[in-house]
């Protein structure tokens, strides 16, 4: 075909085809995996807040996350539960955790009434939990200069 030039020429072209292959495969992997990485269900959590602390533990499989996407709808992880079952579920999930790790994350939608969140809090505090994490989205970019403490 005359593509390679003469036999005495070195080939000076990079063969990009394998690279494209790898890129495509990586791209597809990321596209497929991304929706599964999200734990639990989709909740319209508060966005663009300035001062929440980052906490990688929220993504951990073992952490207890209660989601309240709408009034009167509670999910523990991905499973829908009602308030009565919530207590038992929380107790079970926290059973073999150390005392200082007993934190329950609450992912509540912004339009959910605060009373629903209070209901969840009331349920978990019966099980000896005194720390909760209110999951909120941090504003991208530099953090506000919050005083230490």
């Amino acid at each position: 075909m005359g593509m390679q030039g003469g036999a005495d020429h070195l080939q000076s072209e990079i063969n990009v085809t394998p690279m494209v292959d790898i890129m495509l495969v990586l791209l597809i992997i990321f596209m497929v995996v991304t929706p599964f990485l999200q734990q639990g269900i989709t909740v319209a959590i508060p966005r663009d807040l300035r001062n929440p602390d980052e906490d990688q533990a929220i993504n951990k499989e073992s952490s207890v996350i209660i989601s309240v996407p709408k009034d009167n709808e509670y999910y523990m992880g991905k499973k829908k539960v009602n308030v009565e079952d919530l207590k038992a579920a929380v107790e079970k999930a926290l059973a073999n955790k150390k005392e200082e790790d007993k934190i329950v994350y609450i992912k509540s939608g912004i339009d959910v009434s605060y009373g629903e969140v209070v209901k969840v809090i009331n349920a978990v505090r019966e099980k000896g939990v005194d720390k909760i994490g209110l999951v909120a989205d941090k504003k991208k970019g530099k953090a506000a200069a919050a005083p230490a403490g």
Binding site: G2, M23, D53, Q56, I58, S108, D130, G133, V135
Partner: protein
């Protein structure tokens, strides 16, 4: 180079460079978006109280700060009016000022007066309680918590008993 073959032939060669450009950009976008770093506000909640416990001789702490929100989205610090949910800057400023004052007066947390091994900043009483009616939207409560946190309060406690 004899790359194109003869002048009377079409070149059977795809230009892949723009394709790679697009793919790389897409890949980078996905890689950046995927580890959406989760964040949260830590809040303390009261543990279940023993109903038989005698609370009559418990003294209220004079340093207690309670931020209460009313149904019309007005914010109060203790009894003082402090702007609204959508503009909590007055609240944040007042809290910051209060904490600064306490630092000067060495108003420590109960039990932390002599704990000199802990940094000064963490010993100052900076506890703030949040009290909001049940009918309020969660988003508004979080906005106020954000402002309180921004002023340096820690820990933040949520009042869950006797809410309107």
């Amino acid at each position: 180079m004899a790359m194109g073959g003869g002048g009377n032939r079409a070149v059977p060669y795809i230009n892949v460079t723009p394709l790679i450009d697009v793919l790389l950009v897409l890949l980078i976008i996905f890689m950046v978006v995927t580890p959406a770093r989760p964040s949260r506000f830590k809040a303390d909640i009261p543990t279940q109280r023993d109903p038989n416990e005698d609370v009559s001789n418990l003294k209220p702490n004079p340093l207690t700060l309670v931020v209460s929100i009313s149904t019309d989205l007005q914010v109060k610090l203790n009894q003082e009016q402090m702007g609204s949910v959508n503009d909590p800057s007055a609240l944040a400023a007042k809290l910051q000022q209060t904490f600064q004052q306490r630092k000067e007066q060495h108003a420590y947390k109960v039990g932390m007066e002599t704990a000199t091994n802990i940094p000064e900043d963490q010993r100052i009483e900076k506890t703030v309680f949040v009290k909001a009616p049940r009918a309020l939207k969660y988003g508004d409560v979080v906005k106020v918590i954000d402002a309180i946190k921004g002023a340096g309060a820690s820990p933040v406690g949520l009042q869950v008993d006797d809410l309107p």
